[in-house]
Symmetry: C2
Subunit: 281 residues, 2 copies
Amino acid sequence: MRTYLDCIPCFFNQALRAGRMVTRDEKKLKSLLDEVGTILRDIPVENTPPETGMLIYDKVSKITGEYDPYKKVKEKNISQALDLYPSLKNEIKNSDDRLLTAIRLAIAGNVIDFGVNKKFDIEEEINVVLKKDFSIFDYDKFKHHLGKTDEILYIGDNAGESVFDRILIEEIKKPVTYVVREIPVINDVTREDAIQAGVDKVARILSSGTRAPGTVLETCNAEFMQLYRKSKFIISKGQGNYEGLSEEKGPVFFLLKAKCWVIANDIGVSEGDIVLKGINI
Amino acid sequence: MRTYLDCIPCFFNQALRAGRMVTRDEKKLKSLLDEVGTILRDIPVENTPPETGMLIYDKVSKITGEYDPYKKVKEKNISQALDLYPSLKNEIKNSDDRLLTAIRLAIAGNVIDFGVNKKFDIEEEINVVLKKDFSIFDYDKFKHHLGKTDEILYIGDNAGESVFDRILIEEIKKPVTYVVREIPVINDVTREDAIQAGVDKVARILSSGTRAPGTVLETCNAEFMQLYRKSKFIISKGQGNYEGLSEEKGPVFFLLKAKCWVIANDIGVSEGDIVLKGINI
């Protein structure tokens, strides 16, 4: 997905929010916003938003001196999600369609996102998403292709969400490679976070090599690219990965909640909608 | 009021919104946002937001070639407000406290604002504001000082709102000078708009000389400044004028709805609250 002009004010909000995670020094924060203003003029709208996100969070780290502004928040989110784990497993056990319930839970977990300017209540979100109609629902395709596939490439999004991904992986019952970011960016999942969430117990963890808050292929490493190119079944979680991959080749199922109206509009749904959308299938 | 860091993303949203009133040319709009990004680094946070607003709307005019992006919108808002005029007068006629009802209506009219990123329904707003409790309610002071005053300086805000101001001026029953912006900026009221709204029938109209979307004294003309300095009773409508005047001298009553959380926070109320607040009284 290209950068929409409406993404630009949002970049400033994201920078300010990330900056405030580590400092209340107004001068530093102002200089952060000034820097973002300066780099934006050199960024073409053809770039995807996570490419710009990468530059912005790099500025956040340099100006605040903090490499991982969301570290504590991520730890807390993972720990809260782990507390929910037994009840989520129970939810699946009691459901008519275990795989679909696991997909719904994986989408509910996607609400744990600090790149978007919204507060969230994860338990409330779970109750909503378990009952909500999908706006795009390629579930039959998903099941059909899953049945034919030996290996799954599962691209994670946020740290706390990875506990919910683990639950879906447990239902998939096939070998899964779980893809994480190379370094901390916003509250996106890194190898360390995925291990804390217990994903290593159910999948092989692989860094895509990206420093962007989304899967921007040009920024990914050779190992990931090789796997991505040959993969027959890719699950992409969340907005950042959608932004990076929506116009790429590769058989991808996007699982997400459209949390911002710009992305909702790009997908062709409404803000707040939930989506299971397959491309190049 | 100084510029809060949260105003900065909002400046970009305002520029984009104003730019889109006149063009859909993405390149022009991107270059507008780039220019805003460039000027922001030279603007200290000590400046008031309307000082920056002035620079931004100047860029909008220069880049789009349109001097008055909100012209048609303003005409429509004034015309809609004039259609409501008889029923508003009737509302006052049937009220227990005519002056207070007129103040409430003047605040309801303040919702007609394109500087703020919200849609509005003026008739619904009127019904809400007629019943809503004030968060700051210096009404007794207002009445007391009004009784002792020979002349009122009434600083207008938005174009459509000026019809509602006219109704309050009709209830004040004292000589009023109604202050407008020097040139079109956002949908703020100019002399031409005030005349279209019929304010000239009940008050003398005076331009403050400012090109800012708010009363920034440094940008005002000598005639206004002389009147402002000697005035014993000033009514200031809306957020832009509050931002310019909140730390200035002068006996001012602010009549506004706190439409953005930053301003609400500066006043000490909640977003959406209505306020009748006197300073230096």
